[in-house]
Amino acid sequence: MNSSEIYDIDVRNHHSWQEMLKMITRLCDDSADCTFSCRNADGWKIPTLEVRLDRPDELEEPERQAAGKYKADVWKNKTVIFADDVPEKIPDGEVFLLRENGAAAVTYRAFREIIRVMRKVKEKPEFLWSSVPLSPVCDTVSVTFEKEKKMYSCGAVHTLWVRGRDEDIRGELQLITGCGELRVQNMATANTWITGSTEDTELLKVIKAQKY
């Protein structure tokens, strides 16, 4: 017997924005506070995904799978399937259906980026707060992907709260680049270490599709 619980976000439905916040919260087993906000870059209000995690250490990057015309991200007991129609075969557990090139998928990938960056830091994260700018959707999905990647690297701000040795954290951060501004607050020593920064000019170039 199939025990799937299917949440069709924007394949047949049109629930791209608010349902995504619920979906991300579900992916975090309810230990998250998620909102949309905006980043003010030279007068442009760029939408952002804001995620605060109370149990970030429970989250690992999903396993990517592909079957036929479908791509899927497999999380613990949950699956995100990118599709333009509802697949005939659905895996067990909670399943979320998204179009690959909609606002929902842009939001989802911003969340996945948060987990990717978080996992670069070796210390166990106690809490996380990330703000990630959301790319405009382009009809050519590869352009959307390219914009997303560049917007993450010049616009994302991630703050992790950990406990560890300052020397270790500092050393790790020196090796991490290209993920926007990554801050690690060491709760044990009361010091904050930062790598990278946000670049509003670059962010605007990406939004406006200027040469970057």
Partner: protein, 332 residues
């Protein structure tokens, strides 16, 4: 007019939103021998963002909302929180203000929350007419490094006038996520007593909201205590809508903000507090002052502001001895 109870609103929030989700909120709930229920939201429990939000919203008797946001401070997009209030003076003066003192373990423990509104034993609760007489349940909040016990429950019970079997106690130390959030949420809470102390009637307050940066969460209680207070005296900005003569505002503006303390302005609160032997009894009343208040007079349409943010002190509190590991130009 039908009576509404801040304590019952707060207890309902605990019973429907908090206690059933205790595990995912990283909090512990236990019942004492005298039947009071304790919520450890950050004494030994880890807590988190959502537990901190609930601590504040329950502490405001269900009349306030806390949302998270980011604000630019000294070149950084800083985590921050925003508080919006309904029935502002009841929400804050009768409920969230930490002002009722009860004996516990040989000293006095400060209690906040709607339980204060039952008897209104402290001066700030007395400043509003609202009394929450004989609620079915009541809620207290305490900022402490020790887990509440039967003695504390009895003490709150006797002082505030509620039996222990109808009492919830929320507790968190300062050096944790919940501690940082619930103290930084004391923005409107800090502003109202300050204007009240200057003779401004609480009947003239129409509405209040505020934003405070949340610069740091650290384990060390002394450092944490200093930094959350830095957020309030150097970072919080309150908007108060009032209805009065403009002169009633202009007469008090200069005496309100922390920046009036020119001899100490800019010094981190941890250092100031250490100079007072870490005892609030030695702290000048003028040091418990908001960073900035904007007044909007509904009666005249005029706006007034007093105080200023100190970005450098907030930056020190944010970074500690840390900093950027690559030399880069910041462009915010």
């Amino acid at each position: 007019m039908e009576h509404w109870s801040v304590n019952e609103k707060a207890a309902a929030l605990l019973e429907t939103e908090v206690i059933p989700k205790a595990d995912r909120l990283n909090i512990e709930v236990y019942r004492l021998k005298n039947s009071a229920v304790v919520l450890d939201m950050g004494v030994r429990a880890k807590g988190g963002f959502r537990a901190g939000k609930y601590f504040a919203e329950v502490g405001m008797g269900g009349l306030g909302k806390l949302t998270f946001c980011m604000i630019p401070v000294s070149g950084y997009l800083m985590p921050a929180l925003q508080v919006t209030t309904e029935n502002t003076t009841v929400c804050e003066m009768a409920s969230y203000v930490a002002a009722t003192k009860v004996p516990w373990r040989g000293s006095m423990q400060v209690v906040s929350g709607p339980v204060r509104s039952i008897r209104a034993t402290d001066g700030f609760a007395k400043a509003v007419d609202y009394r929450d007489e004989n609620p079915a349940k009541a809620v207290a909040g305490v900022q402490t490094t020790e887990l509440p016990d039967e003695e504390l429950a009895e003490s709150i019970s006797e002082t505030c006038g509620i039996s222990t079997d109808r009492l919830y106690i929320m507790a968190a130390r300062t050096g944790c996520m919940v501690g940082a959030i619930q103290v930084c949420a004391r923005n409107v809470e800090q502003s109202l007593p300050t204007v009240y102390d200057r003779g401004f009637s609480m009947d003239q307050i129409v509405e209040g909201n505020a934003v405070t940066p949340l610069v740091s969460v650290v384990d060390d209680e002394d450092i944490a205590y200093g930094r959350v207070n830095d957020c309030l005296i150097y970072g919080q900005e309150t908007n108060l809508t009032v209805r009065c003569e403009d002169r009633e505002l202009t007469d008090i503006l200069d005496g309100i903000p922390f920046s009036k303390n020119r001899d100490v302005y800019g010094i981190p609160f941890q250092k100031l507090f250490a100079g007072c032997d870490r005892n609030w009894a030695n702290v000048p009343r003028d040091w418990d002052a908001p960073c900035r208040i904007n007044f909007f007079n509904a009666a005249t349409g005029h706006a007034f502001t007093t105080g200023r943010l100190n970005e450098e002190t907030l930056k020190m509190a944010f970074l500690g001895n840390g900093g950027t590991v690559h030399e880069q130009q910041r462009n915010l």
